[in-house]
């Protein structure tokens, strides 16, 4: 990196000291399991908004998707549109308020607990818990690896030490301070991310001569699109790919829809709505959440493509080429090559904050899942902080082992896979639970199972980005994808979510037909 390691180490130590202090505040304020699991339902709206945003936006959203936008262009701005429209407006107003109301009414303490209580079904709670138990360690491992790699390169610490140290530091405040500590630290981390991304946008446009000049320069580069990308449908960095081309399908189904809709049914985000005391707090949080998500995703997807102008002007090559062909290295390479030393430190801190805020929330959610939702010793839903803390330790160890053992190409798909699975399995059943006076547990079970199975089948046998690394389709059928193009680039969420929703609707109609049948009416009369 461009700055002195000692300077960055000192800043990091100060940052960690503040994190430890906030963790201590969380620890002091945690008196019971309500505090540990849902922050005592008294979190400040600004903390809610920043915590939600910082958890949602991980390092991979900034560096990974920023790098992808450097390769594919500004079309990813539509993900920003969905992140604000769906991830904030619909998530907070349509889902968030109801989640809070029902959470309080049923005294639910986790996302699976809420589903279980709304449906009066232990099956729903346990099934949701199992999906979290099997899906979330992969996602967590991806965040762990990203954070450890970042620490390894910036602080010159061996990777293994960085991985364990990173997990232990985050684990410490999650285990001791519960959700209060997680959300307080998230808020600080969110604020650092906001400052970092704001400065990044301003400096990028300043260095490139202004908004109009920079965008025009990028617009004029459309003839430089590499042949392979042009063949896939890419038309330039300031224009959308050709409609229904492989790149358009990947951009829209995997990134825009996969992440933009996937955000709605993520357990670690949904539980945050139960951490505030009234809907007024949610109303106020919307005001902070919108601008926060705009600055996180909007800046990443704008600066990413503009790095091509910078590298073309300074090194005579495109951004991905300048980054050694590695998409994930584009944003760090741009920061190191163009930005002043002080900003490199701020941005590195923002990336560390982004990784920590997501990781702490995943640790907390997995801990409450195994220590409460899947704990067969829990009687009358009485949670035990000790069991949850023990569960958190177990899941941190499992995630760290997964980070060591799982192949890198599967880990790289983990974020999108987890979001897709959550949306397909939970979203229709979750919406039904929130908005139906008498939610049908039969329909919810059918929807959850159909969504999860459809997601798995499409992931393992059709969507080549995942099926090729999982190898199941190759082993059974001898091909990575059993369907021809363009199906192989259509993300599982686009198929599995409608399947889950249709099955929910069909099951509800089936139940209604049973109730309306003459025999049933005769029996009831």
């Amino acid at each position: 990196m461009a700055v002195d390691t000692l300077t960055f180490t000192i800043i990091t130590v100060i940052y960690l000291a503040i994190i430890v202090f906030l963790g201590y505040l969380g620890y002091k304020q945690t008196k019971g399991s309500d505090d540990f699991m849902i922050a005592g339902r008294r979190i400040n709206p600004v903390v809610l908004a920043l915590s939600y945003g910082a958890t949602f936006i991980s390092t991979s959203a900034i560096v990974g998707f920023g790098g992808v936008s450097a390769m594919l262009g500004m079309g990813l701005v539509w993900l920003t549109v969905l992140c604000i429209g769906v991830g904030v407006l619909i998530a907070f107003i349509v889902f968030g308020k109801k989640t809070r109301e029902l959470g309080k009414k049923t005294n639910a303490l986790t996302f699976p607990d809420l589903l279980g209580k709304c449906y009066g079904s232990t099956f729903m709670q346990r099934a949701a818990g199992l999906i979290i138990l099997f899906g979330m360690p992969l996602y967590t491992a991806a965040i762990l690896i990203g954070g450890a790699r970042f620490i390894e390169t910036t602080l010159s610490i061996p990777y293994d030490t960085a991985l364990v140290a990173f997990a232990v530091i985050v684990a410490a405040y999650v285990i001791l301070g519960g959700l209060i500590a997680v959300m307080y630290t998230d808020a600080l981390q969110g604020a650092i991310m906001f400052v970092g991304m704001t400065i990044l946008l301003i400096l990028t446009y300043t260095y490139l001569g202004g908004v109009y000049e920079a965008n025009s320069a990028l617009d004029a580069m459309s003839s430089m699109v590499p042949e392979a990308l042009a063949a896939g449908g890419m038309t330039g960095w300031t224009s959308m790919p050709e409609f229904l081309s492989p790149i358009w399908l990947t951009m829209i189904t995997t990134m825009v829809l996969g992440v933009g809709i996937g955000v709605l049914a993520q357990p670690q985000l949904a539980v945050r709505f139960m951490s505030v005391k009234d809907n007024r707090s949610i109303h106020r949080a919307v005001m902070v959440g919108g601008p926060f998500v705009l600055m996180m995703t909007g800046v990443a997807f704008t600066v990413g493509p503009l790095t091509n102008v910078w590298f073309m002007q300074t090194e005579g090559m495109l951004a991905v080429e300048a980054a050694g062909g590695n998409v994930d290295s584009v944003i760090p390479a741009f920061i190191n090559s163009s930005m002043p030393d002080y900003f490199v430190i701020i941005f590195m801190l923002a990336l560390l904050a982004a990784a920590m805020s997501t990781l702490s929330s995943l640790f907390h959610t997995m801990g409450t899942t195994i220590g409460h939702d899947l704990n067969v010793k829990v009687k009358d839903s009485k949670p035990s902080i000790r069991a949850i803390q023990a569960g958190t330790v177990v899941m941190i160890v499992v995630s760290t082992i997964v980070a060591y053992l799982m192949p890198g190409n599967i880990i790289a798909r983990a974020t999108v896979m987890f979001m897709g699975l959550c949306a397909a399995a939970f979203l229709p059943a979750f919406a039904h639970a929130l908005y139906s006076k008498k939610p049908s547990v039969f329909a919810a079970k059918a929807s959850l199972l159909a969504g999860a199975i459809a997601w798995f089948l499409w992931t393992a046998f059709v969507h080549s980005a995942e099926s090729s690394v999982l190898g199941i389709s190759q082993a059974i059928f001898g091909v990575p994808s059993v369907l021809p193009m363009p199906w192989g680039v259509v993300n599982p969420i686009v198929i599995a979510l409608p399947v889950s929703a249709i099955v929910l609707g069909a099951a509800l109609m089936y139940e209604k037909s049973l109730v309306d049948s003459p025999e049933e009416k005769a029996e009831s009369s």
């Binding site: 908004v211 965008n215 300031t238 009234d278 809907n279 005001m287």
Partner: protein, 44 residues
């Protein structure tokens, strides 16, 4: 618009700004709505 010629891109930016403005407006318009009385939630 602002150096971007493809309307599908600048419309995306425009919509992102409009939605952000909608978030802010929603917060301001509902600033006092939805308040619930104080109560002790530390049940366990």
């Amino acid at each position: 618009m602002f150096g971007i010629t493809d309307p599908y891109i600048w419309m995306g930016y425009l919509l992102a700004f409009i939605l952000t403005a909608a978030c802010i407006a929603y917060g301001i318009l509902n600033w006092r709505n939805g308040q619930e009385p104080e109560e002790d939630n530390n049940g366990s």
